[in-house]
């Protein structure tokens, strides 16, 4: 899940008799499963919440290049390097579609980028964790993209048309990412003792941060009800997390790695796996800026933006000169 803890604008779900007629019609369209399109009327709070959510999702794609970029230069073979380059190129492309979707709601990419760089908007907590060995490139594809897919598959049915369509396209690419990640893990887990140790280390280190990607437990999640009524959010955090655990445990077993949590056990009554909750104190620390890499990630993005200003200005100035010359020639 690349957007977490998105604060839903407004004061919670309105009863039908509190809604204006326009709001009632809007809610009816959503309840009928219709898609809302950019030019349609929508409540301000729906618009604001979507900008937050899509913007955070876009920022996650962009910041998410950094932990993988950390290993592109050290990829062990030409093929791995090529695959990783293709993958980060996809991520940047996802950022573009998502910023495009956000722009249909009336904000510019530059505006929300400035919000990110000033710390007013967030990106997924997962990218505040470091990538420390090569198996992390496997674990990121398999677990991080795997978790993102679970969320994003659900979001293909989200009520806002441009967001839903972006998700369809993104999901196709994400499943390639998850497969290449798992392939790296298979190589590592069946490799030399050192490679197997790297695979286990990556799994152990990233397991709980990945569980945190789905956001806090439902009982603490204050934003869910209205976003679900608007079909901006399709399932609760705990439902999605459970789905992830259930699909991943068997994949861990297939790799022959040890489970990262000794409390993972099949529960015959609930027909799902029990597992330990992540340390939510750590999660809130990361969200507040105190994760292992928050400072470095934001410094890197700010540096890229500041160092790139002359390039953006230069290309813009040239485009304006060309446009002016074209007008003069007519």
């Amino acid at each position: 899940m690349y957007a977490q803890m998105v604060k839903t604008a407004g004061s919670g779900v309105k009863d039908r008799d509190e809604m204006s007629e326009q709001e009632q019609d809007f809610q009816d369209r959503i309840d009928r499963g219709e898609k809302i399109e950019p030019k349609d009327w929508m409540p301000d709070n729906y618009r604001i919440t979507l900008i937050r959510q899509i913007g955070q999702h876009a920022h996650s794609e962009v910041v998410g290049q950094l932990p993988e970029g950390n290993w592109i230069t050290r990829a062990p073979t030409l093929e791995r390097k090529a695959i990783l380059l293709a993958k980060v190129q996809d991520e940047a492309g996802h950022g573009l579609y998502l910023y495009g979707a956000a722009e249909t709601l009336g904000v510019s990419r530059d505006e929300i980028t400035e919000d990110l760089l000033a710390g007013r908007m967030k990106y997924s907590s997962i990218f505040n964790y470091p990538t420390l060995n090569w198996a992390d490139m496997g674990a990121v594809g398999w677990l991080v993209d795997g978790a993102a897919i679970i969320n994003q598959v659900a979001l293909q049915r989200t009520s806002y048309g441009p967001y839903a369509r972006a998700m369809v396209r993104i999901c196709k690419e994400e499943s390639f990412h998850a497969r290449q990640g798992y392939h790296i893990m298979m190589k590592m887990a069946s490799g030399t003792p050192e490679q197997k140790a790297m695979a286990q280390d990556a799994l152990n280190r990233l397991w709980y941060p990945v569980l945190m990607m789905f956001g806090p437990s439902d009982k603490e999640s204050v934003h869910t009800a209205q976003s679900m009524a608007w079909k901006i959010k399709m399932d609760t955090n705990d439902e999605l997390r459970q789905k992830f655990v259930d699909q991943t445990v068997q994949q861990i077993e297939y790799l022959g790695l040890e489970l990262p949590d000794p409390n993972i056990k099949w529960n015959d009554e609930t027909k799902q796996y029990d597992y330990s909750d992540p340390d939510w104190t750590e999660f809130f620390d990361v969200i507040k800026g105190n994760g292992p890499c928050n400072v470095d990630r934001m410094a890197a993005r700010n540096k890229a933006w500041d160092d790139g200003k002359w390039v953006r200005d230069g290309l813009m100035a040239h485009a304006e000169k060309k446009a002016a010359a074209k007008v003069a020639a007519q």
Binding site: V62, G69, L85, T192, L315
Partner: protein, 251 residues
């Protein structure tokens, strides 16, 4: 013949390997998202070409090595790339100017290699030249956009050109390996590419309102392996680290 062809193929493969690696160093740090995508895309093409050139080099060598072993397990003195491509990225302007100066040569050279007497060389060149044509279009556009942009972007692009210019001449210097390739009809005489190259970059640099430095001095030693810059060793430290630290592992 095979020894010369092996050397020649290393030159082609090492150019794309080293420049592709340099491009990949930008990941996540470009001035704007479109440039992140373009840099990664170009790097990806170059690494793909590397697999083909070094793969063929390994076959020609016939010692049981493969493209990965050539990329990851040779030391600096066995690298045969032009010095131009191993220079550090510098700012975005220098990276794109270097890309352009290389792309312009690459697209011309590949065009000639498509008529190589060696069908394998001709086949790889045909595939790579489609990518190179796109690369030079994009890098030329960016050089023009930034050269003829703001005052600051103009000054930076001129500085980039001046820094890189002494590394351009090496592309056109021939040696006994080139002579053997010419004799066998495999590859063109490097000097024969110069006029077309000068015409191409002359047009672009002029449109970019920049000036080609008035000097024909050329650093050399990269393509012959006589000596590289100090920068290449540091690149190999990162690029080859896993293969060196865990020899024999399969990744």
């Amino acid at each position: 013949m095979d020894a010369s062809l092996f050397q020649y193929l290393l030159r082609l493969g090492d150019n794309t390997l080293v420049l592709g690696h340099r491009g990949s160093e930008w990941c996540g740090h470009a001035p704007v998202l479109e440039e992140d995508i373009a840099l990664a895309n170009t790097a990806l093409d170059l690494i793909g070409q590397t697999q083909l050139w070094l793969g063929l080099a390994a076959e020609v060598e016939g010692k049981g090595r493969d493209a990965d072993q050539l990329a990851m397990q040779r030391d600096i003195w066995d690298f045969r790339n032009l010095l131009l491509v191993e220079l550090p990225n510098g700012d975005f302007g220098r990276t794109l100017m270097r890309q352009f100066l290389f792309d312009a040569w690459q697209v011309i050279n590949l065009g000639r290699l498509m008529n190589s007497s060696n069908p394998r060389v001709a086949e790889i060149a045909a595939k790579a030249s489609k990518e190179a044509a796109y690369h030079v279009e994009r890098s030329a556009d960016t050089v023009v956009g930034l050269g003829d942009g703001t005052e600051e972007s103009h000054v930076r692009m001129q500085a980039a050109l001046e820094y890189l210019w002494p590394y351009v001449g090496e592309m056109f210097l021939g040696d006994e390996v080139d002579a053997a390739m010419v004799a066998a009809g495999i590859a063109p005489d490097p000097a024969s590419l110069r006029a077309e190259y000068d015409a191409l970059i002359g047009r672009v640099i002029k449109t970019a309102t920049l000036e080609i430095p008035d000097s024909s001095f050329a650093h050399k030693g990269g393509k012959t392996g006589a000596f590289h810059t100090e920068h290449l060793g540091h690149m190999l430290c990162s690029m080859q680290w896993l293969q060196r630290a865990y020899p024999g592992a399969s990744w």
